[in-house]
Symmetry: C2
Subunit: 564 residues, 2 copies
């Protein structure tokens, strides 16, 4: 290496920075930067969401990565590249007003999905650019980028080959190694090898690193599905992700071979099918009938594709399990198939559907990962295959919880490669022989809460969680024109038992607060903050004593002095 080059290396750094997805499965967002320190050109790979749960984020609509770092550098961003159309990769597009003008690059089906999303969110569709896959590439500033087709559980999934003058990265996106994926691009090791020649950095999906058995091919499912469906005399309902178009096609083909007509239940199912037909992804999907038409057929001739495989409360599957959906009622003799895997955290909701259906004596068939479902992610042995095929200098695990990233790192080392852990916020120098962590950037989460974004640490959700655990008490006192406390307080509790052994909870609180107010000095009465503190303490004290709860307390102090 001569001096000029070494000098350039010092000035031009090439870095990798995960802002979401490296520490959880969800809200994927990765940044690559190249250039002089502090003035790097940036590209963003994916901009996804994670889904809330009632234990940590009740009432939250979506969880987004905290993109403050990126927003501060928005003028440096050359583009956002979307690897595929799953919500954990595109769901946050259009939600950050500061990023609304940055061009988006994607393949056609992903582009169609994200345009629809921008339309729904009042964004500008014009920012979306359609890119042809490898060997086509696009040059943006110091980056040359190609979409390399990979197989996954949604069509047109892609990895990205990102080339700069100090190195070449393959960012896999989500992938499996399926040579017969029914729909979308089959795994093509020759193409991968050609595209990734002299690879420096492999940034690689870690989701299924702990799954030992190699994943089966999507194509393998049809035979067993036909066997299952043919054996049934009643209606058959199958649920899976609406975006898994290959699966929808496999299921629909199996249904047709079993002499059944197909019904699509659920908005997402119909919407995804529209997009698939519009964008030409699906050309020969069997004709579908309406739920109304289905009701006129013998049950043995009906096959339903239903949304809500993860137990989503308002989706078609949950509604079918509760009673009725669009006129369709399931009963003894019918069969309900989960052509899906339950994502950790959704077990209770899915279980509820299974129990409700069982109570109706519907036959429930589950398929974690076997006869009726295959995963969209490469397993341990397949990840090893990719390591060995591409022989990168350095492997950086991504797309996984801490446990998956760590297991992937250990696997990479076992396979004879250098590997570095990069959790969300780790800014990793990838321009040198060895990768190293340059800095820890503030990352984290932001909530879409109703219509607005709130920081995960803003306390908004914390206050809601506290109310859900301990209830709430509203209390109101009046300070009159002469700065005297009126001899009355108004109390109303919420989310607490109205009656306790000793009487009415609200009355008991009123009495306690009133007597504690009598002891106050004028100084306290004149000071809102002090007064509030005394009252909160008094309320919590009595409620703790009566029912062993420490409620949230809102104190309204009305000072009439300013009014008259």
């Amino acid at each position: 290496m001569n001096l000029t080059e070494s000098e350039k290396m010092r000035k031009d750094q090439f870095f990798y920075l995960p802002l979401g997805g490296a520490g959880e499965i969800g809200m994927n967002c990765y940044v690559y930067g190249f250039g002089e320190k502090g003035k790097e050109s940036l590209i963003v790979v994916d901009c996804g969401v994670a889904f809330p749960d009632s234990e940590t984020t009740p009432g939250v609509d979506l969880i987004l990565p905290n993109l403050d770092w990126l927003i501060q550098r928005r003028d440096q961003i050359k583009g956002i590249f979307l690897t595929h159309a799953h919500e954990d990769h595109i769901g946050a597009v259009g939600l950050f007003p500061e990023l609304s003008k940055i061009p988006i690059y994607a393949r056609p089906f992903t582009a169609a999905n994200v345009k629809r999303k921008l339309l729904d969110r009042g964004g500008d569709e014009e920012i979306v650019h359609i890119i042809d896959p490898y060997p086509n590439s696009i040059t943006l500033g110091p980056f040359e980028i190609s979409f390399l087709p990979v197989s996954h559980s949604i069509p047109e999934s892609s990895g990205l080959i990102i080339q700069t003058n100090t190195g070449k990265v393959f960012h896999t996106g989500d992938f499996k190694l399926d040579k017969t994926p029914v729909l979308g691009d089959p795994y093509d090791p020759k193409l991968w090898k050609a595209a990734c020649e002299n690879l420096d950095i492999l940034v690689c999906d870690s989701t299924n690193v702990s799954v030992k058995a190699a994943a089966k091919s999507e194509k393998s499912l049809k035979k067993d599905l036909v066997k299952l469906i043919k054996a049934q005399n009643g209606m058959v309902v199958a649920t899976t992700f609406a975006s898994n178009l290959a699966r929808l096609k496999t299921l629909a083909d199996a249904a047709i071979l079993s002499d059944r007509s197909i019904v699509l239940l659920g908005r997402a199912m119909r919407r995804m099918m529209e997009l698939a037909l519009e964008s030409g992804i699906i050309k020969n999907f069997p004709n579908v009938i309406t739920p109304k038409q289905a009701l006129e057929l013998p049950r043995s001739h009906v096959f339903i594709l239903s949304t809500g495989s993860q137990g989503e409360r308002r989706a078609a599957s949950a509604q079918l399990s509760n009673g009725k959906y669009q006129g369709i009622v399931l009963s003894e003799g019918d069969t309900f198939l989960f052509s899906s895997k339950t994502i950790p955290g959704n077990e209770v909701s899915v279980n509820k559907i299974i129990n409700n259906l069982t109570e109706k004596k519907v036959n429930v068939v589950e398929s974690e990962d076997g006869l009726y479902h295959v995963s969209g992610h490469a397993s341990r042995s397949e990840i090893t295959d990719v390591h060995n095929l591409l022989k990168p200098r350095i492997i950086i695990p991504m797309h996984g919880e801490a446990r998956h990233l760590r297991a992937h790192q250990l696997l990479a080392i076992e396979n004879g490669f250098e590997s570095i852990l990069a959790a969300n916020g780790s800014l990793i120098d990838i321009s040198k022989d060895k990768a190293s962590t340059l800095a820890q950037i503030e990352s984290g989460r932001v909530y879409l809460d109703g219509r607005i974004l709130v920081g995960a640490n803003s306390g908004v959700v914390r206050d809601r969680l506290r109310m859900s655990f301990s209830g709430h008490v509203s209390i109101n006192i009046i300070v009159d024109e002469d700065d005297e406390l009126l001899d009355e307080v108004w109390v109303q509790s919420h989310g607490l038992s109205k009656n306790v052994v000793e009487g009415s909870l609200d009355v008991l609180i009123e009495e306690t607060v009133l007597s504690s107010l009598k002891l106050l000095e004028d100084e306290t009465i004149l000071d809102d903050e002090k007064l509030e503190k005394v009252i909160v303490r008094s309320v919590r004290g009595i409620v703790l004593e009566l029912i062993n709860k420490k409620p949230e307390v809102t104190v309204l102090i009305n000072r009439l002095v300013s009014y008259v």
Copy 2:
């Protein structure tokens, strides 16, 4: 059958009534009745709790079966029989004041546990009677009852043989068929067969009816545990249920064979060990050292038994994963073993521990059901073995969710037996050749919420859930001595973003409500209910418009007329 007998049969009914446990795994409570209709003598089998979750029961301490039916008939109850000391079988003892005088019957270890519980809850220990197992029996009114030893994951587990003059029931309790259970009674098919001769009704555990492989024996674990522990150079922590004394012994023995000293971490662990030693269940448990002593040993000589295998937030395992517990800090080179299965619903909490430990580079070893853990429940093939061994006239599945009960019923039919489904609240006649449902009793759930019991349908928890999803607004208005509204309102929101695009949320609410109040007629102002309705609608309307949330609203109306 002569007339007298037939007459007696008509008068004396023998029934089975599950009030909890037949529709969920948890809060087991089953009733048997015998006698003239409406005057039956009753016995209760188990009185357990279920555990709350943040999705449906935030802030709730324990979920109990609704025992109103039983409480109304408390004078008819001859006794409460406890099959074993798990919380889902004894956890509700002492929480229903109306049942506090009813005698309790149990074997010594279960009795020791329940006495401790009664002591904690201010109950009377004297009501607990220790019973020797089969062939000993106790006669209470028309019932003759024997405790039949079964193997399970806690010592002295028992089924109950309940005999009346119209039939014989075997109520299995929780069981597995383990001939070498390390601690407690081994499975003894000869004894079962003798005790259950001419069996009419088998009321049988359904938990693992969908698990195909026969469970391994507790004894099989030691070898693999020794191998695992010996291979480690750092500290080894193992977590399991504190009540699984056989497992604690197996783990401790394996640790001693691996030349390690044992530390018990967590209150439940120490308490259970005390009870086990006091009641003579464990005679030769290895010596334990304190956490402080452990810190002075090389890490390779320390073995920790830790509570919190289900991810419980305050238990030792969670605290170790967060940083430190009683001075002990885990780090790279240490190993953490789950000698347990994650109960559905606890995946997220357990996962969090695994990720936290992984971030500290602690080696985490899981064992769903295999090398380092065996289940306490009989699997499908073992349930079939029991059907065929005991050859009852009728099989009633219990201890399971709807899906398990149904699968067990289908299995029983497949095995050639009559079987009837009995969900919570189903009063089943078991005195005739065929079992039939006589009535549906109101059953359900009651919550221990802080210190008091609240009905599941009381709205208390519903209000908390609503606040957790939508936040809360306290609002206060004043009506003066002349029935005029003051021209000011006081608002404070909680669990909602303070700032929205348009400004301060609270101020915007105040303005909106004030202007809607200006339009009111006197009639509305004089009527609390109408006034509240208008204000609630106004608050919800503006919050919905601003941030797309419909908060809970507490309106405090101060009428000063009565004051002066």
